[in-house]
Symmetry: C2
Subunit: 205 residues, 2 copies
């Protein structure tokens, strides 16, 4: 062990000051929670938003079905309880990422107001910013897009409990941002989220 090196090592008990994290990262942590129907454009906007933020030198990370349903939540199904637990776990993970100073982009249908409000409360209690983005697209339009053929299967009864068909989507009544993706281009949607982050002063330490 090199003693001279070790003398540079100083620390104090307990947690790191969040501001130290923010200074290092040049930003504050936040959860951007995108909710909307299947095929409403959540993932498309989330993918573009993450890339644009990274190009600006910011630190963003996307939580979505791909990295959650096959990993952390691979032991959950689609029962009412499992759906609630799915969103609860994602909310807890998003909170950890936001606490770490990351711009966390969570993109999940998350159809129930009660589940989304619990995630908001988690963040509020931890004094971490939470931005609910209602990715709004009329059902007819989402069903027309249907890139994975899921609406077709739901209409045929091959998928049960599909949001918008035989399970409700409870639209946010007071989201931080409303994105009508049938009217906005992807670039406009991304810019609208950036504007909210900017306005809330989250893109600097």
């Amino acid at each position: 062990m090199n003693q001279q090196k070790a003398t540079n090592i100083t620390w104090h008990d307990g947690a790191v000051d969040p501001q130290e994290r923010h200074k290092n990262l040049g930003q504050k942590g936040v959860t951007v929670w995108m909710t909307g129907l299947s095929a409403s454009g959540k993932s498309t906007v989330a993918v573009a938003l993450e890339q644009v933020l990274l190009k600006q030198g910011k630190h963003a990370y996307r939580l979505d079905g791909d990295n959650i349903r096959h990993g952390l939540n691979n032991n959950l199904g689609f029962s009412a309880d499992d759906r609630a637990e799915n969103i609860r776990r994602i909310g807890e993970v998003a909170k950890l990422f936001a606490d770490a100073g990351i711009i966390t982009i969570a993109s999940f249908i998350s159809p129930y107001t009660a589940d989304r409000d619990k995630v908001r409360k988690l963040h509020d209690d931890a004094k971490l910013p939470f931005i609910e983005v209602f990715v709004d697209c009329p059902l007819e339009e989402a069903e027309k897009r249907d890139p994975k053929g899921l609406y077709k299967k739901a209409r045929a009864g091959e998928i049960k409990g599909f949001t918008g068909i035989d399970d409700p989507y409870e639209a946010p009544t007071n989201p931080e941002l409303h994105l009508p993706t049938h009217e906005y281009s992807i670039a406009q949607s991304v810019q609208a989220v950036l504007d909210v982050l900017e306005k809330k002063n989250l893109l600097k330490a």
Copy 2:
């Protein structure tokens, strides 16, 4: 919507190139998994390590009992199944953090080799670096420290299934780092982890 602003917004389909993340952060993501008996010094080293990394301008985040047991895993107890699920979820979250480019410091007793090896495999499969740190302290010494009085309660039979008393601790046989905390100072322990990160070239993009 300001069209001129929107023209700066460009993206491509699919995931971000990990190297872009690394360039932004000036480091690579990794999970540093600290395993050892209760009171072996895991948290002490983890807290100091996180702070030292942040002072060096690096981006580190600690996962530990405080932010996991009261949050993501607040619906798990201490049965064999729940213990395994506890480590599985933590492993999945650590993997997400490592994927996000963060130096992730997980500090949990994690007494079973099988559970730790699953977490290692998760990282291996995703080509994310995993550093197992055996925080090694003789049981007698840990029991003498006993800062929370847990060993005392376990000896009195007030806590059942306590690692080292009436539940086994399976020591890593081939960890990336062995930290005998009864012989090393905290600064020496931190330096030893930094040396491994340095040697594996993880502290630069």
